[in-house]
Amino acid sequence: MGLQRCKFSNKNMSIFERKKAIKLSADTAMASARKGLTCWSRALISNRDRPVPTTTRRASSACKKIVKRSRRIRRTAKCGAARKGQITRSIAQCLVRKRTQILKSLIPGGEFMNEVCLIEETLDYITSLRVQVDVMRSLASASARASEPHN
C-alpha cells in the first residue's frame, strides 16, 4: 500500500527519473511500514519533498585540530601515566562526538535526537534498511525472470 502512495502516470520517463521514482516508492513503503512509531520514519515521510541538505565538514576539522594538539602535548610534555590516560580519554571522547555527528546526519531527523534516542532509532533504521534491500532484490530477480524470453 505504501508503494502505491506515489503513483507516476508518465510512461515515457528517463531511466534516471524512473530510478528516482522507484527509490521514492521504496523509501515511502519502508517508512510507512513503521506506522509512525519511530522518529526516522516520520522524518523520512515529512522530508520527502524537501531537498536534502549537504553535511558540513566543520566538526571533523575541529576534531582533527584537537587530536593534533594532544599529539604535540604527548610528545613534548614530561608527564606521567595519569596525564597520558587523560589525553587518550579526551581523544576517544572527541572521536565518539565526531562519529555521533556523522550518524546524526545519516539517520532521517537525527539532528534533533539525543544520544539514547539516536542509537534506538539507528537500530530500527538498520533493520528496516535490510528488509528494504531484501525486498528490492526479490523484485529485481522476479523482474529479470519476467523479462526472459519464453521459448
Binding site: 530510478k19 528516482k20 522507484i22 516508492s25 572521536l95 565518539v96 562519529r99 550518524l103 533493520t127
Partner: protein
C-alpha cells in the same frame, strides 16, 4: 549548600543510568553490524562501533540506489504485454 550537594548527587545518578543505557544500546548495535560481529566476542570501543555503523548504513543506502537503478532498467526493457512485469511496474510506479 546541602541542596546543591543533593542535586549534584542526583545528576550523577541520572548520568550513570544514562551511561548504562547507552552502553547497553551500543552493545546491541555491535550485534547488528556484520563487520564487527564476525569472530569478535570481546567488547569493541564505542567510537569503532559508531564508525562501522555509519559505514554499514552508507553501504546499505548504496545498495538501495544500485537496486533502484537495476529495477528501472529492467522495467524499461520489458514489453508491456507481459503480465508479471506490468504488475511489478504498477507496484513501483
Amino acid at each position: 549548600m546541602s541542596s546543591r550537594g543533593l542535586r549534584s548527587r542526583q545528576s550523577s545518578g541520572v548520568s550513570r543510568i544514562r551511561d548504562d543505557q547507552i552502553t547497553d544500546l551500543v552493545s546491541k548495535l555491535q550485534l547488528l553490524i556484520p563487520q564487527i560481529r564476525r569472530g569478535r566476542s570481546h567488547k569493541v570501543s564505542a567510537s569503532k562501533v559508531l564508525q562501522e555503523t555509519c559505514n554499514y548504513i552508507r553501504s546499505l543506502n548504496r545498495e538501495v540506489e544500485d537496486l533502484s537503478h537495476r529495477l528501472s532498467e529492467l522495467l524499461a526493457s520489458t514489453d508491456i504485454d507481459n503480465d508479471q512485469a506490468a504488475i511489478i511496474r504498477s507496484l513501483l510506479m
